[in-house]
Amino acid sequence: MSPQARLLAKDLALALGHRLAIALYMLFALFPLFWLIKISVTPDRLLFTEGIRLWPSEMTWANFSFVLLRSDFPAFFTNSVIVSLGTAIAVTLVAAAAGYAFSRFRFPGKYAVVFLLLLTQMFPLVMLIAPIYRLMAPLGLTDNLTGLIVVYTAFNVPFATFLMQSFFDGIPTDLEEAAMIDGCTRLSALRRVIFPLTLPGMAATLGFVFTAAWSELLFALMLINSEETMTFAVGLLTFVSKFSVDWGQMMAAGVLALIPACLFFAFIQRYLVQGLTAGALKG
């Protein structure tokens, strides 16, 4: 082999190895979800005879029609959408204001406030479960969705504030200063100049917080008791502990829980790096 040919062969081997490694990672990432979907479309009677096969010899939609038409999951789904959307909107508004203050002002107490927000990202939230339950019960905030929204909003504000700050930092201050010199008050400069520019950032924050609220389990377990107010996470876990052999139905419900998360994930893809670095460095 000539030296050039050897070099070419080496490059080719390297590219092949690279592709192979990537393919393995993709397999690892997708396999559990693939299996979830596979079991959800497998007829019950085939589960035990060909449970381990990669794809059943027959497919069924019975599990999905049960979950969608004859179970409480649509109600759980609605509850989760209400809680996640309510939380996402509340957090985005609150965090946009706070992130703006961090990005544009230097003020006494700023570092103390930043430190407080960082600290909230470090301590174990699980230790708040008991006191929050006991503080909220007399206020009538347990076993209803409003209570959950309040709790989730507070938990997500610190991270979302840093995220919004990073978006505001990307907008030159000259813009609103020019508007203010032209006679705008700060608020009208915000509304007319800055707000339209932060819309993508706010949409990303909305997506992140929605996903986080959709995933939350422990506080929902503690705070919610009755079936009418269960979120999807609580409903699914209750179903699993009650009917632990209805494999296909459980997994069909699981596939439903995946849908909104995937939608929002596709939607916030572009902001992942920004969001996760804000999360990594600041909590």
Binding site: F123, I129, P131, R186, L217, L218, G254, A261, A280, G283
Partner: protein, 316 residues
């Protein structure tokens, strides 16, 4: 910030219109108007319950007990330290859980970041797919892995048995000596994308010229990795790993969903022990005592880190 004071100066010159109070408003109070809602929420839903929770650690608070609420001093802590085997077991498990999850998340995440840090066809799609586990709700990841480990419907026990790792296809989540690996595997699956994304961002910030210079000087791939890539990544790696340690050691969801801490507390970690004590036993006093112990441990960890950082020469 500089622009800000320019505006202020401009305003001040403009006939002294904004008086002292106006300036006080602009520089001291105005930011707090924007921060107000956030601070009130955090104070009421996080700081207040934290303080109240700390006080519970010294009280007898059991929701179902007819007489409770009394002050018990350090009784809970005495039980915790000297009579509660589960606490010590959970502490040991927490170290395994955190260490095991972190090592694999980091190494595989770094590998993935390196793989993604070059141009190839379909890269955006690949990126979306390998990052998907991060978006899957954690309760669903937990359930899915619990199902994968179940020999009736899941393939993993059969594969592990075929590879000779298990003597027969049984559910490892039911075996006290290896059950903790179940939640760890799920956590690794869930956590790789996080490391991959943060490290990929750091990789992309390394100047290309450095690699070119190293290549001209005859450095091979491994030398380029250890002499250029790693030193540049080091600060990001350090901060991500340290903060992730705290995050993982507080992360109870997967254990709660997959094993509930069982069998016989073999997979109980401190946060799941806190949760079960509060949620199943409704013993808020004792749960808060465990929580306080966890908080103290995390605080000590943070303190040691800060000390170490001071002792090391600054790298950034």
């Amino acid at each position: 910030m500089a622009g800000q004071s320019a505006v202020a100066a401009l305003r001040a010159r403009g006939g002294g219109r904004p008086g002292r109070t106006a300036r006080l408003f602009e520089f001291v109070l105005e930011p707090y108007y924007y921060l107000g809602p956030a601070l009130i929420l955090i104070a009421l839903v996080m700081v207040l319950p934290l303080v109240v929770g700390l006080s519970y650690a010294f009280r007898d608070i059991r929701i179902l007990a007819p007489v409770s609420g009394g002050f018990v001093g350090f009784d809970h802590f005495e039980t915790l330290l000297f009579r509660d085997r589960v606490f010590w077991r959970s502490l040991g498990n927490t170290l395994w859980w955190t260490g095991g999850s972190l090592v694999f998340q980091f190494l595989l995440g770094l590998g993935l970041a390196l793989l993604l840090n070059r141009q190839f066809g379909g890269r955006r799609l690949v990126q979306a797919v390998v990052f998907l586990p991060w978006a899957v709700p954690t309760f669903l990841s937990g359930l899915t892995f619990a199902w994968l480990f179940n020999p009736v419907i899941g393939p993993l026990p059969h594969w592990l048995a075929a590879l000779g790792i298990l003597s027969e296809p049984y559910n490892i989540l039911g075996n006290p000596s290896i059950a903790l690996w179940g939640p760890i595997v799920a956590n690794v699956w869930f956590g790789i994308p996080f490391f991959a994304i943060t490290l990929l961002a750091a990789l992309q910030a390394i100047p290309r010229e450095l690699y070119e210079a190293a290549a001209i000087d005859g450095a091979n791939a491994w030398q380029r990795f250890t002499k250029v890539t790693l030193p540049f990544l080091a600060p990001m790696i350090a901060i991500t790993v340290l903060l992730r340690t705290i995050w993982i050691s507080n992360f109870a969801d997967l254990v709660v969903v997959m094993t509930g801490g069982g069998p016989a507390n073999a997979t109980q970690i401190l946060p799941s022990y806190i949760f079960t004590t509060a949620y199943r036993k409704l013993d808020f006093g004792y749960a808060s005592a465990i929580a306080t112990a966890l908080l103290v441990l995390l605080f000590l960890y943070a303190l040691i880190l800060i000390r170490m950082r001071r002792a090391l020469p600054s790298t950034t």
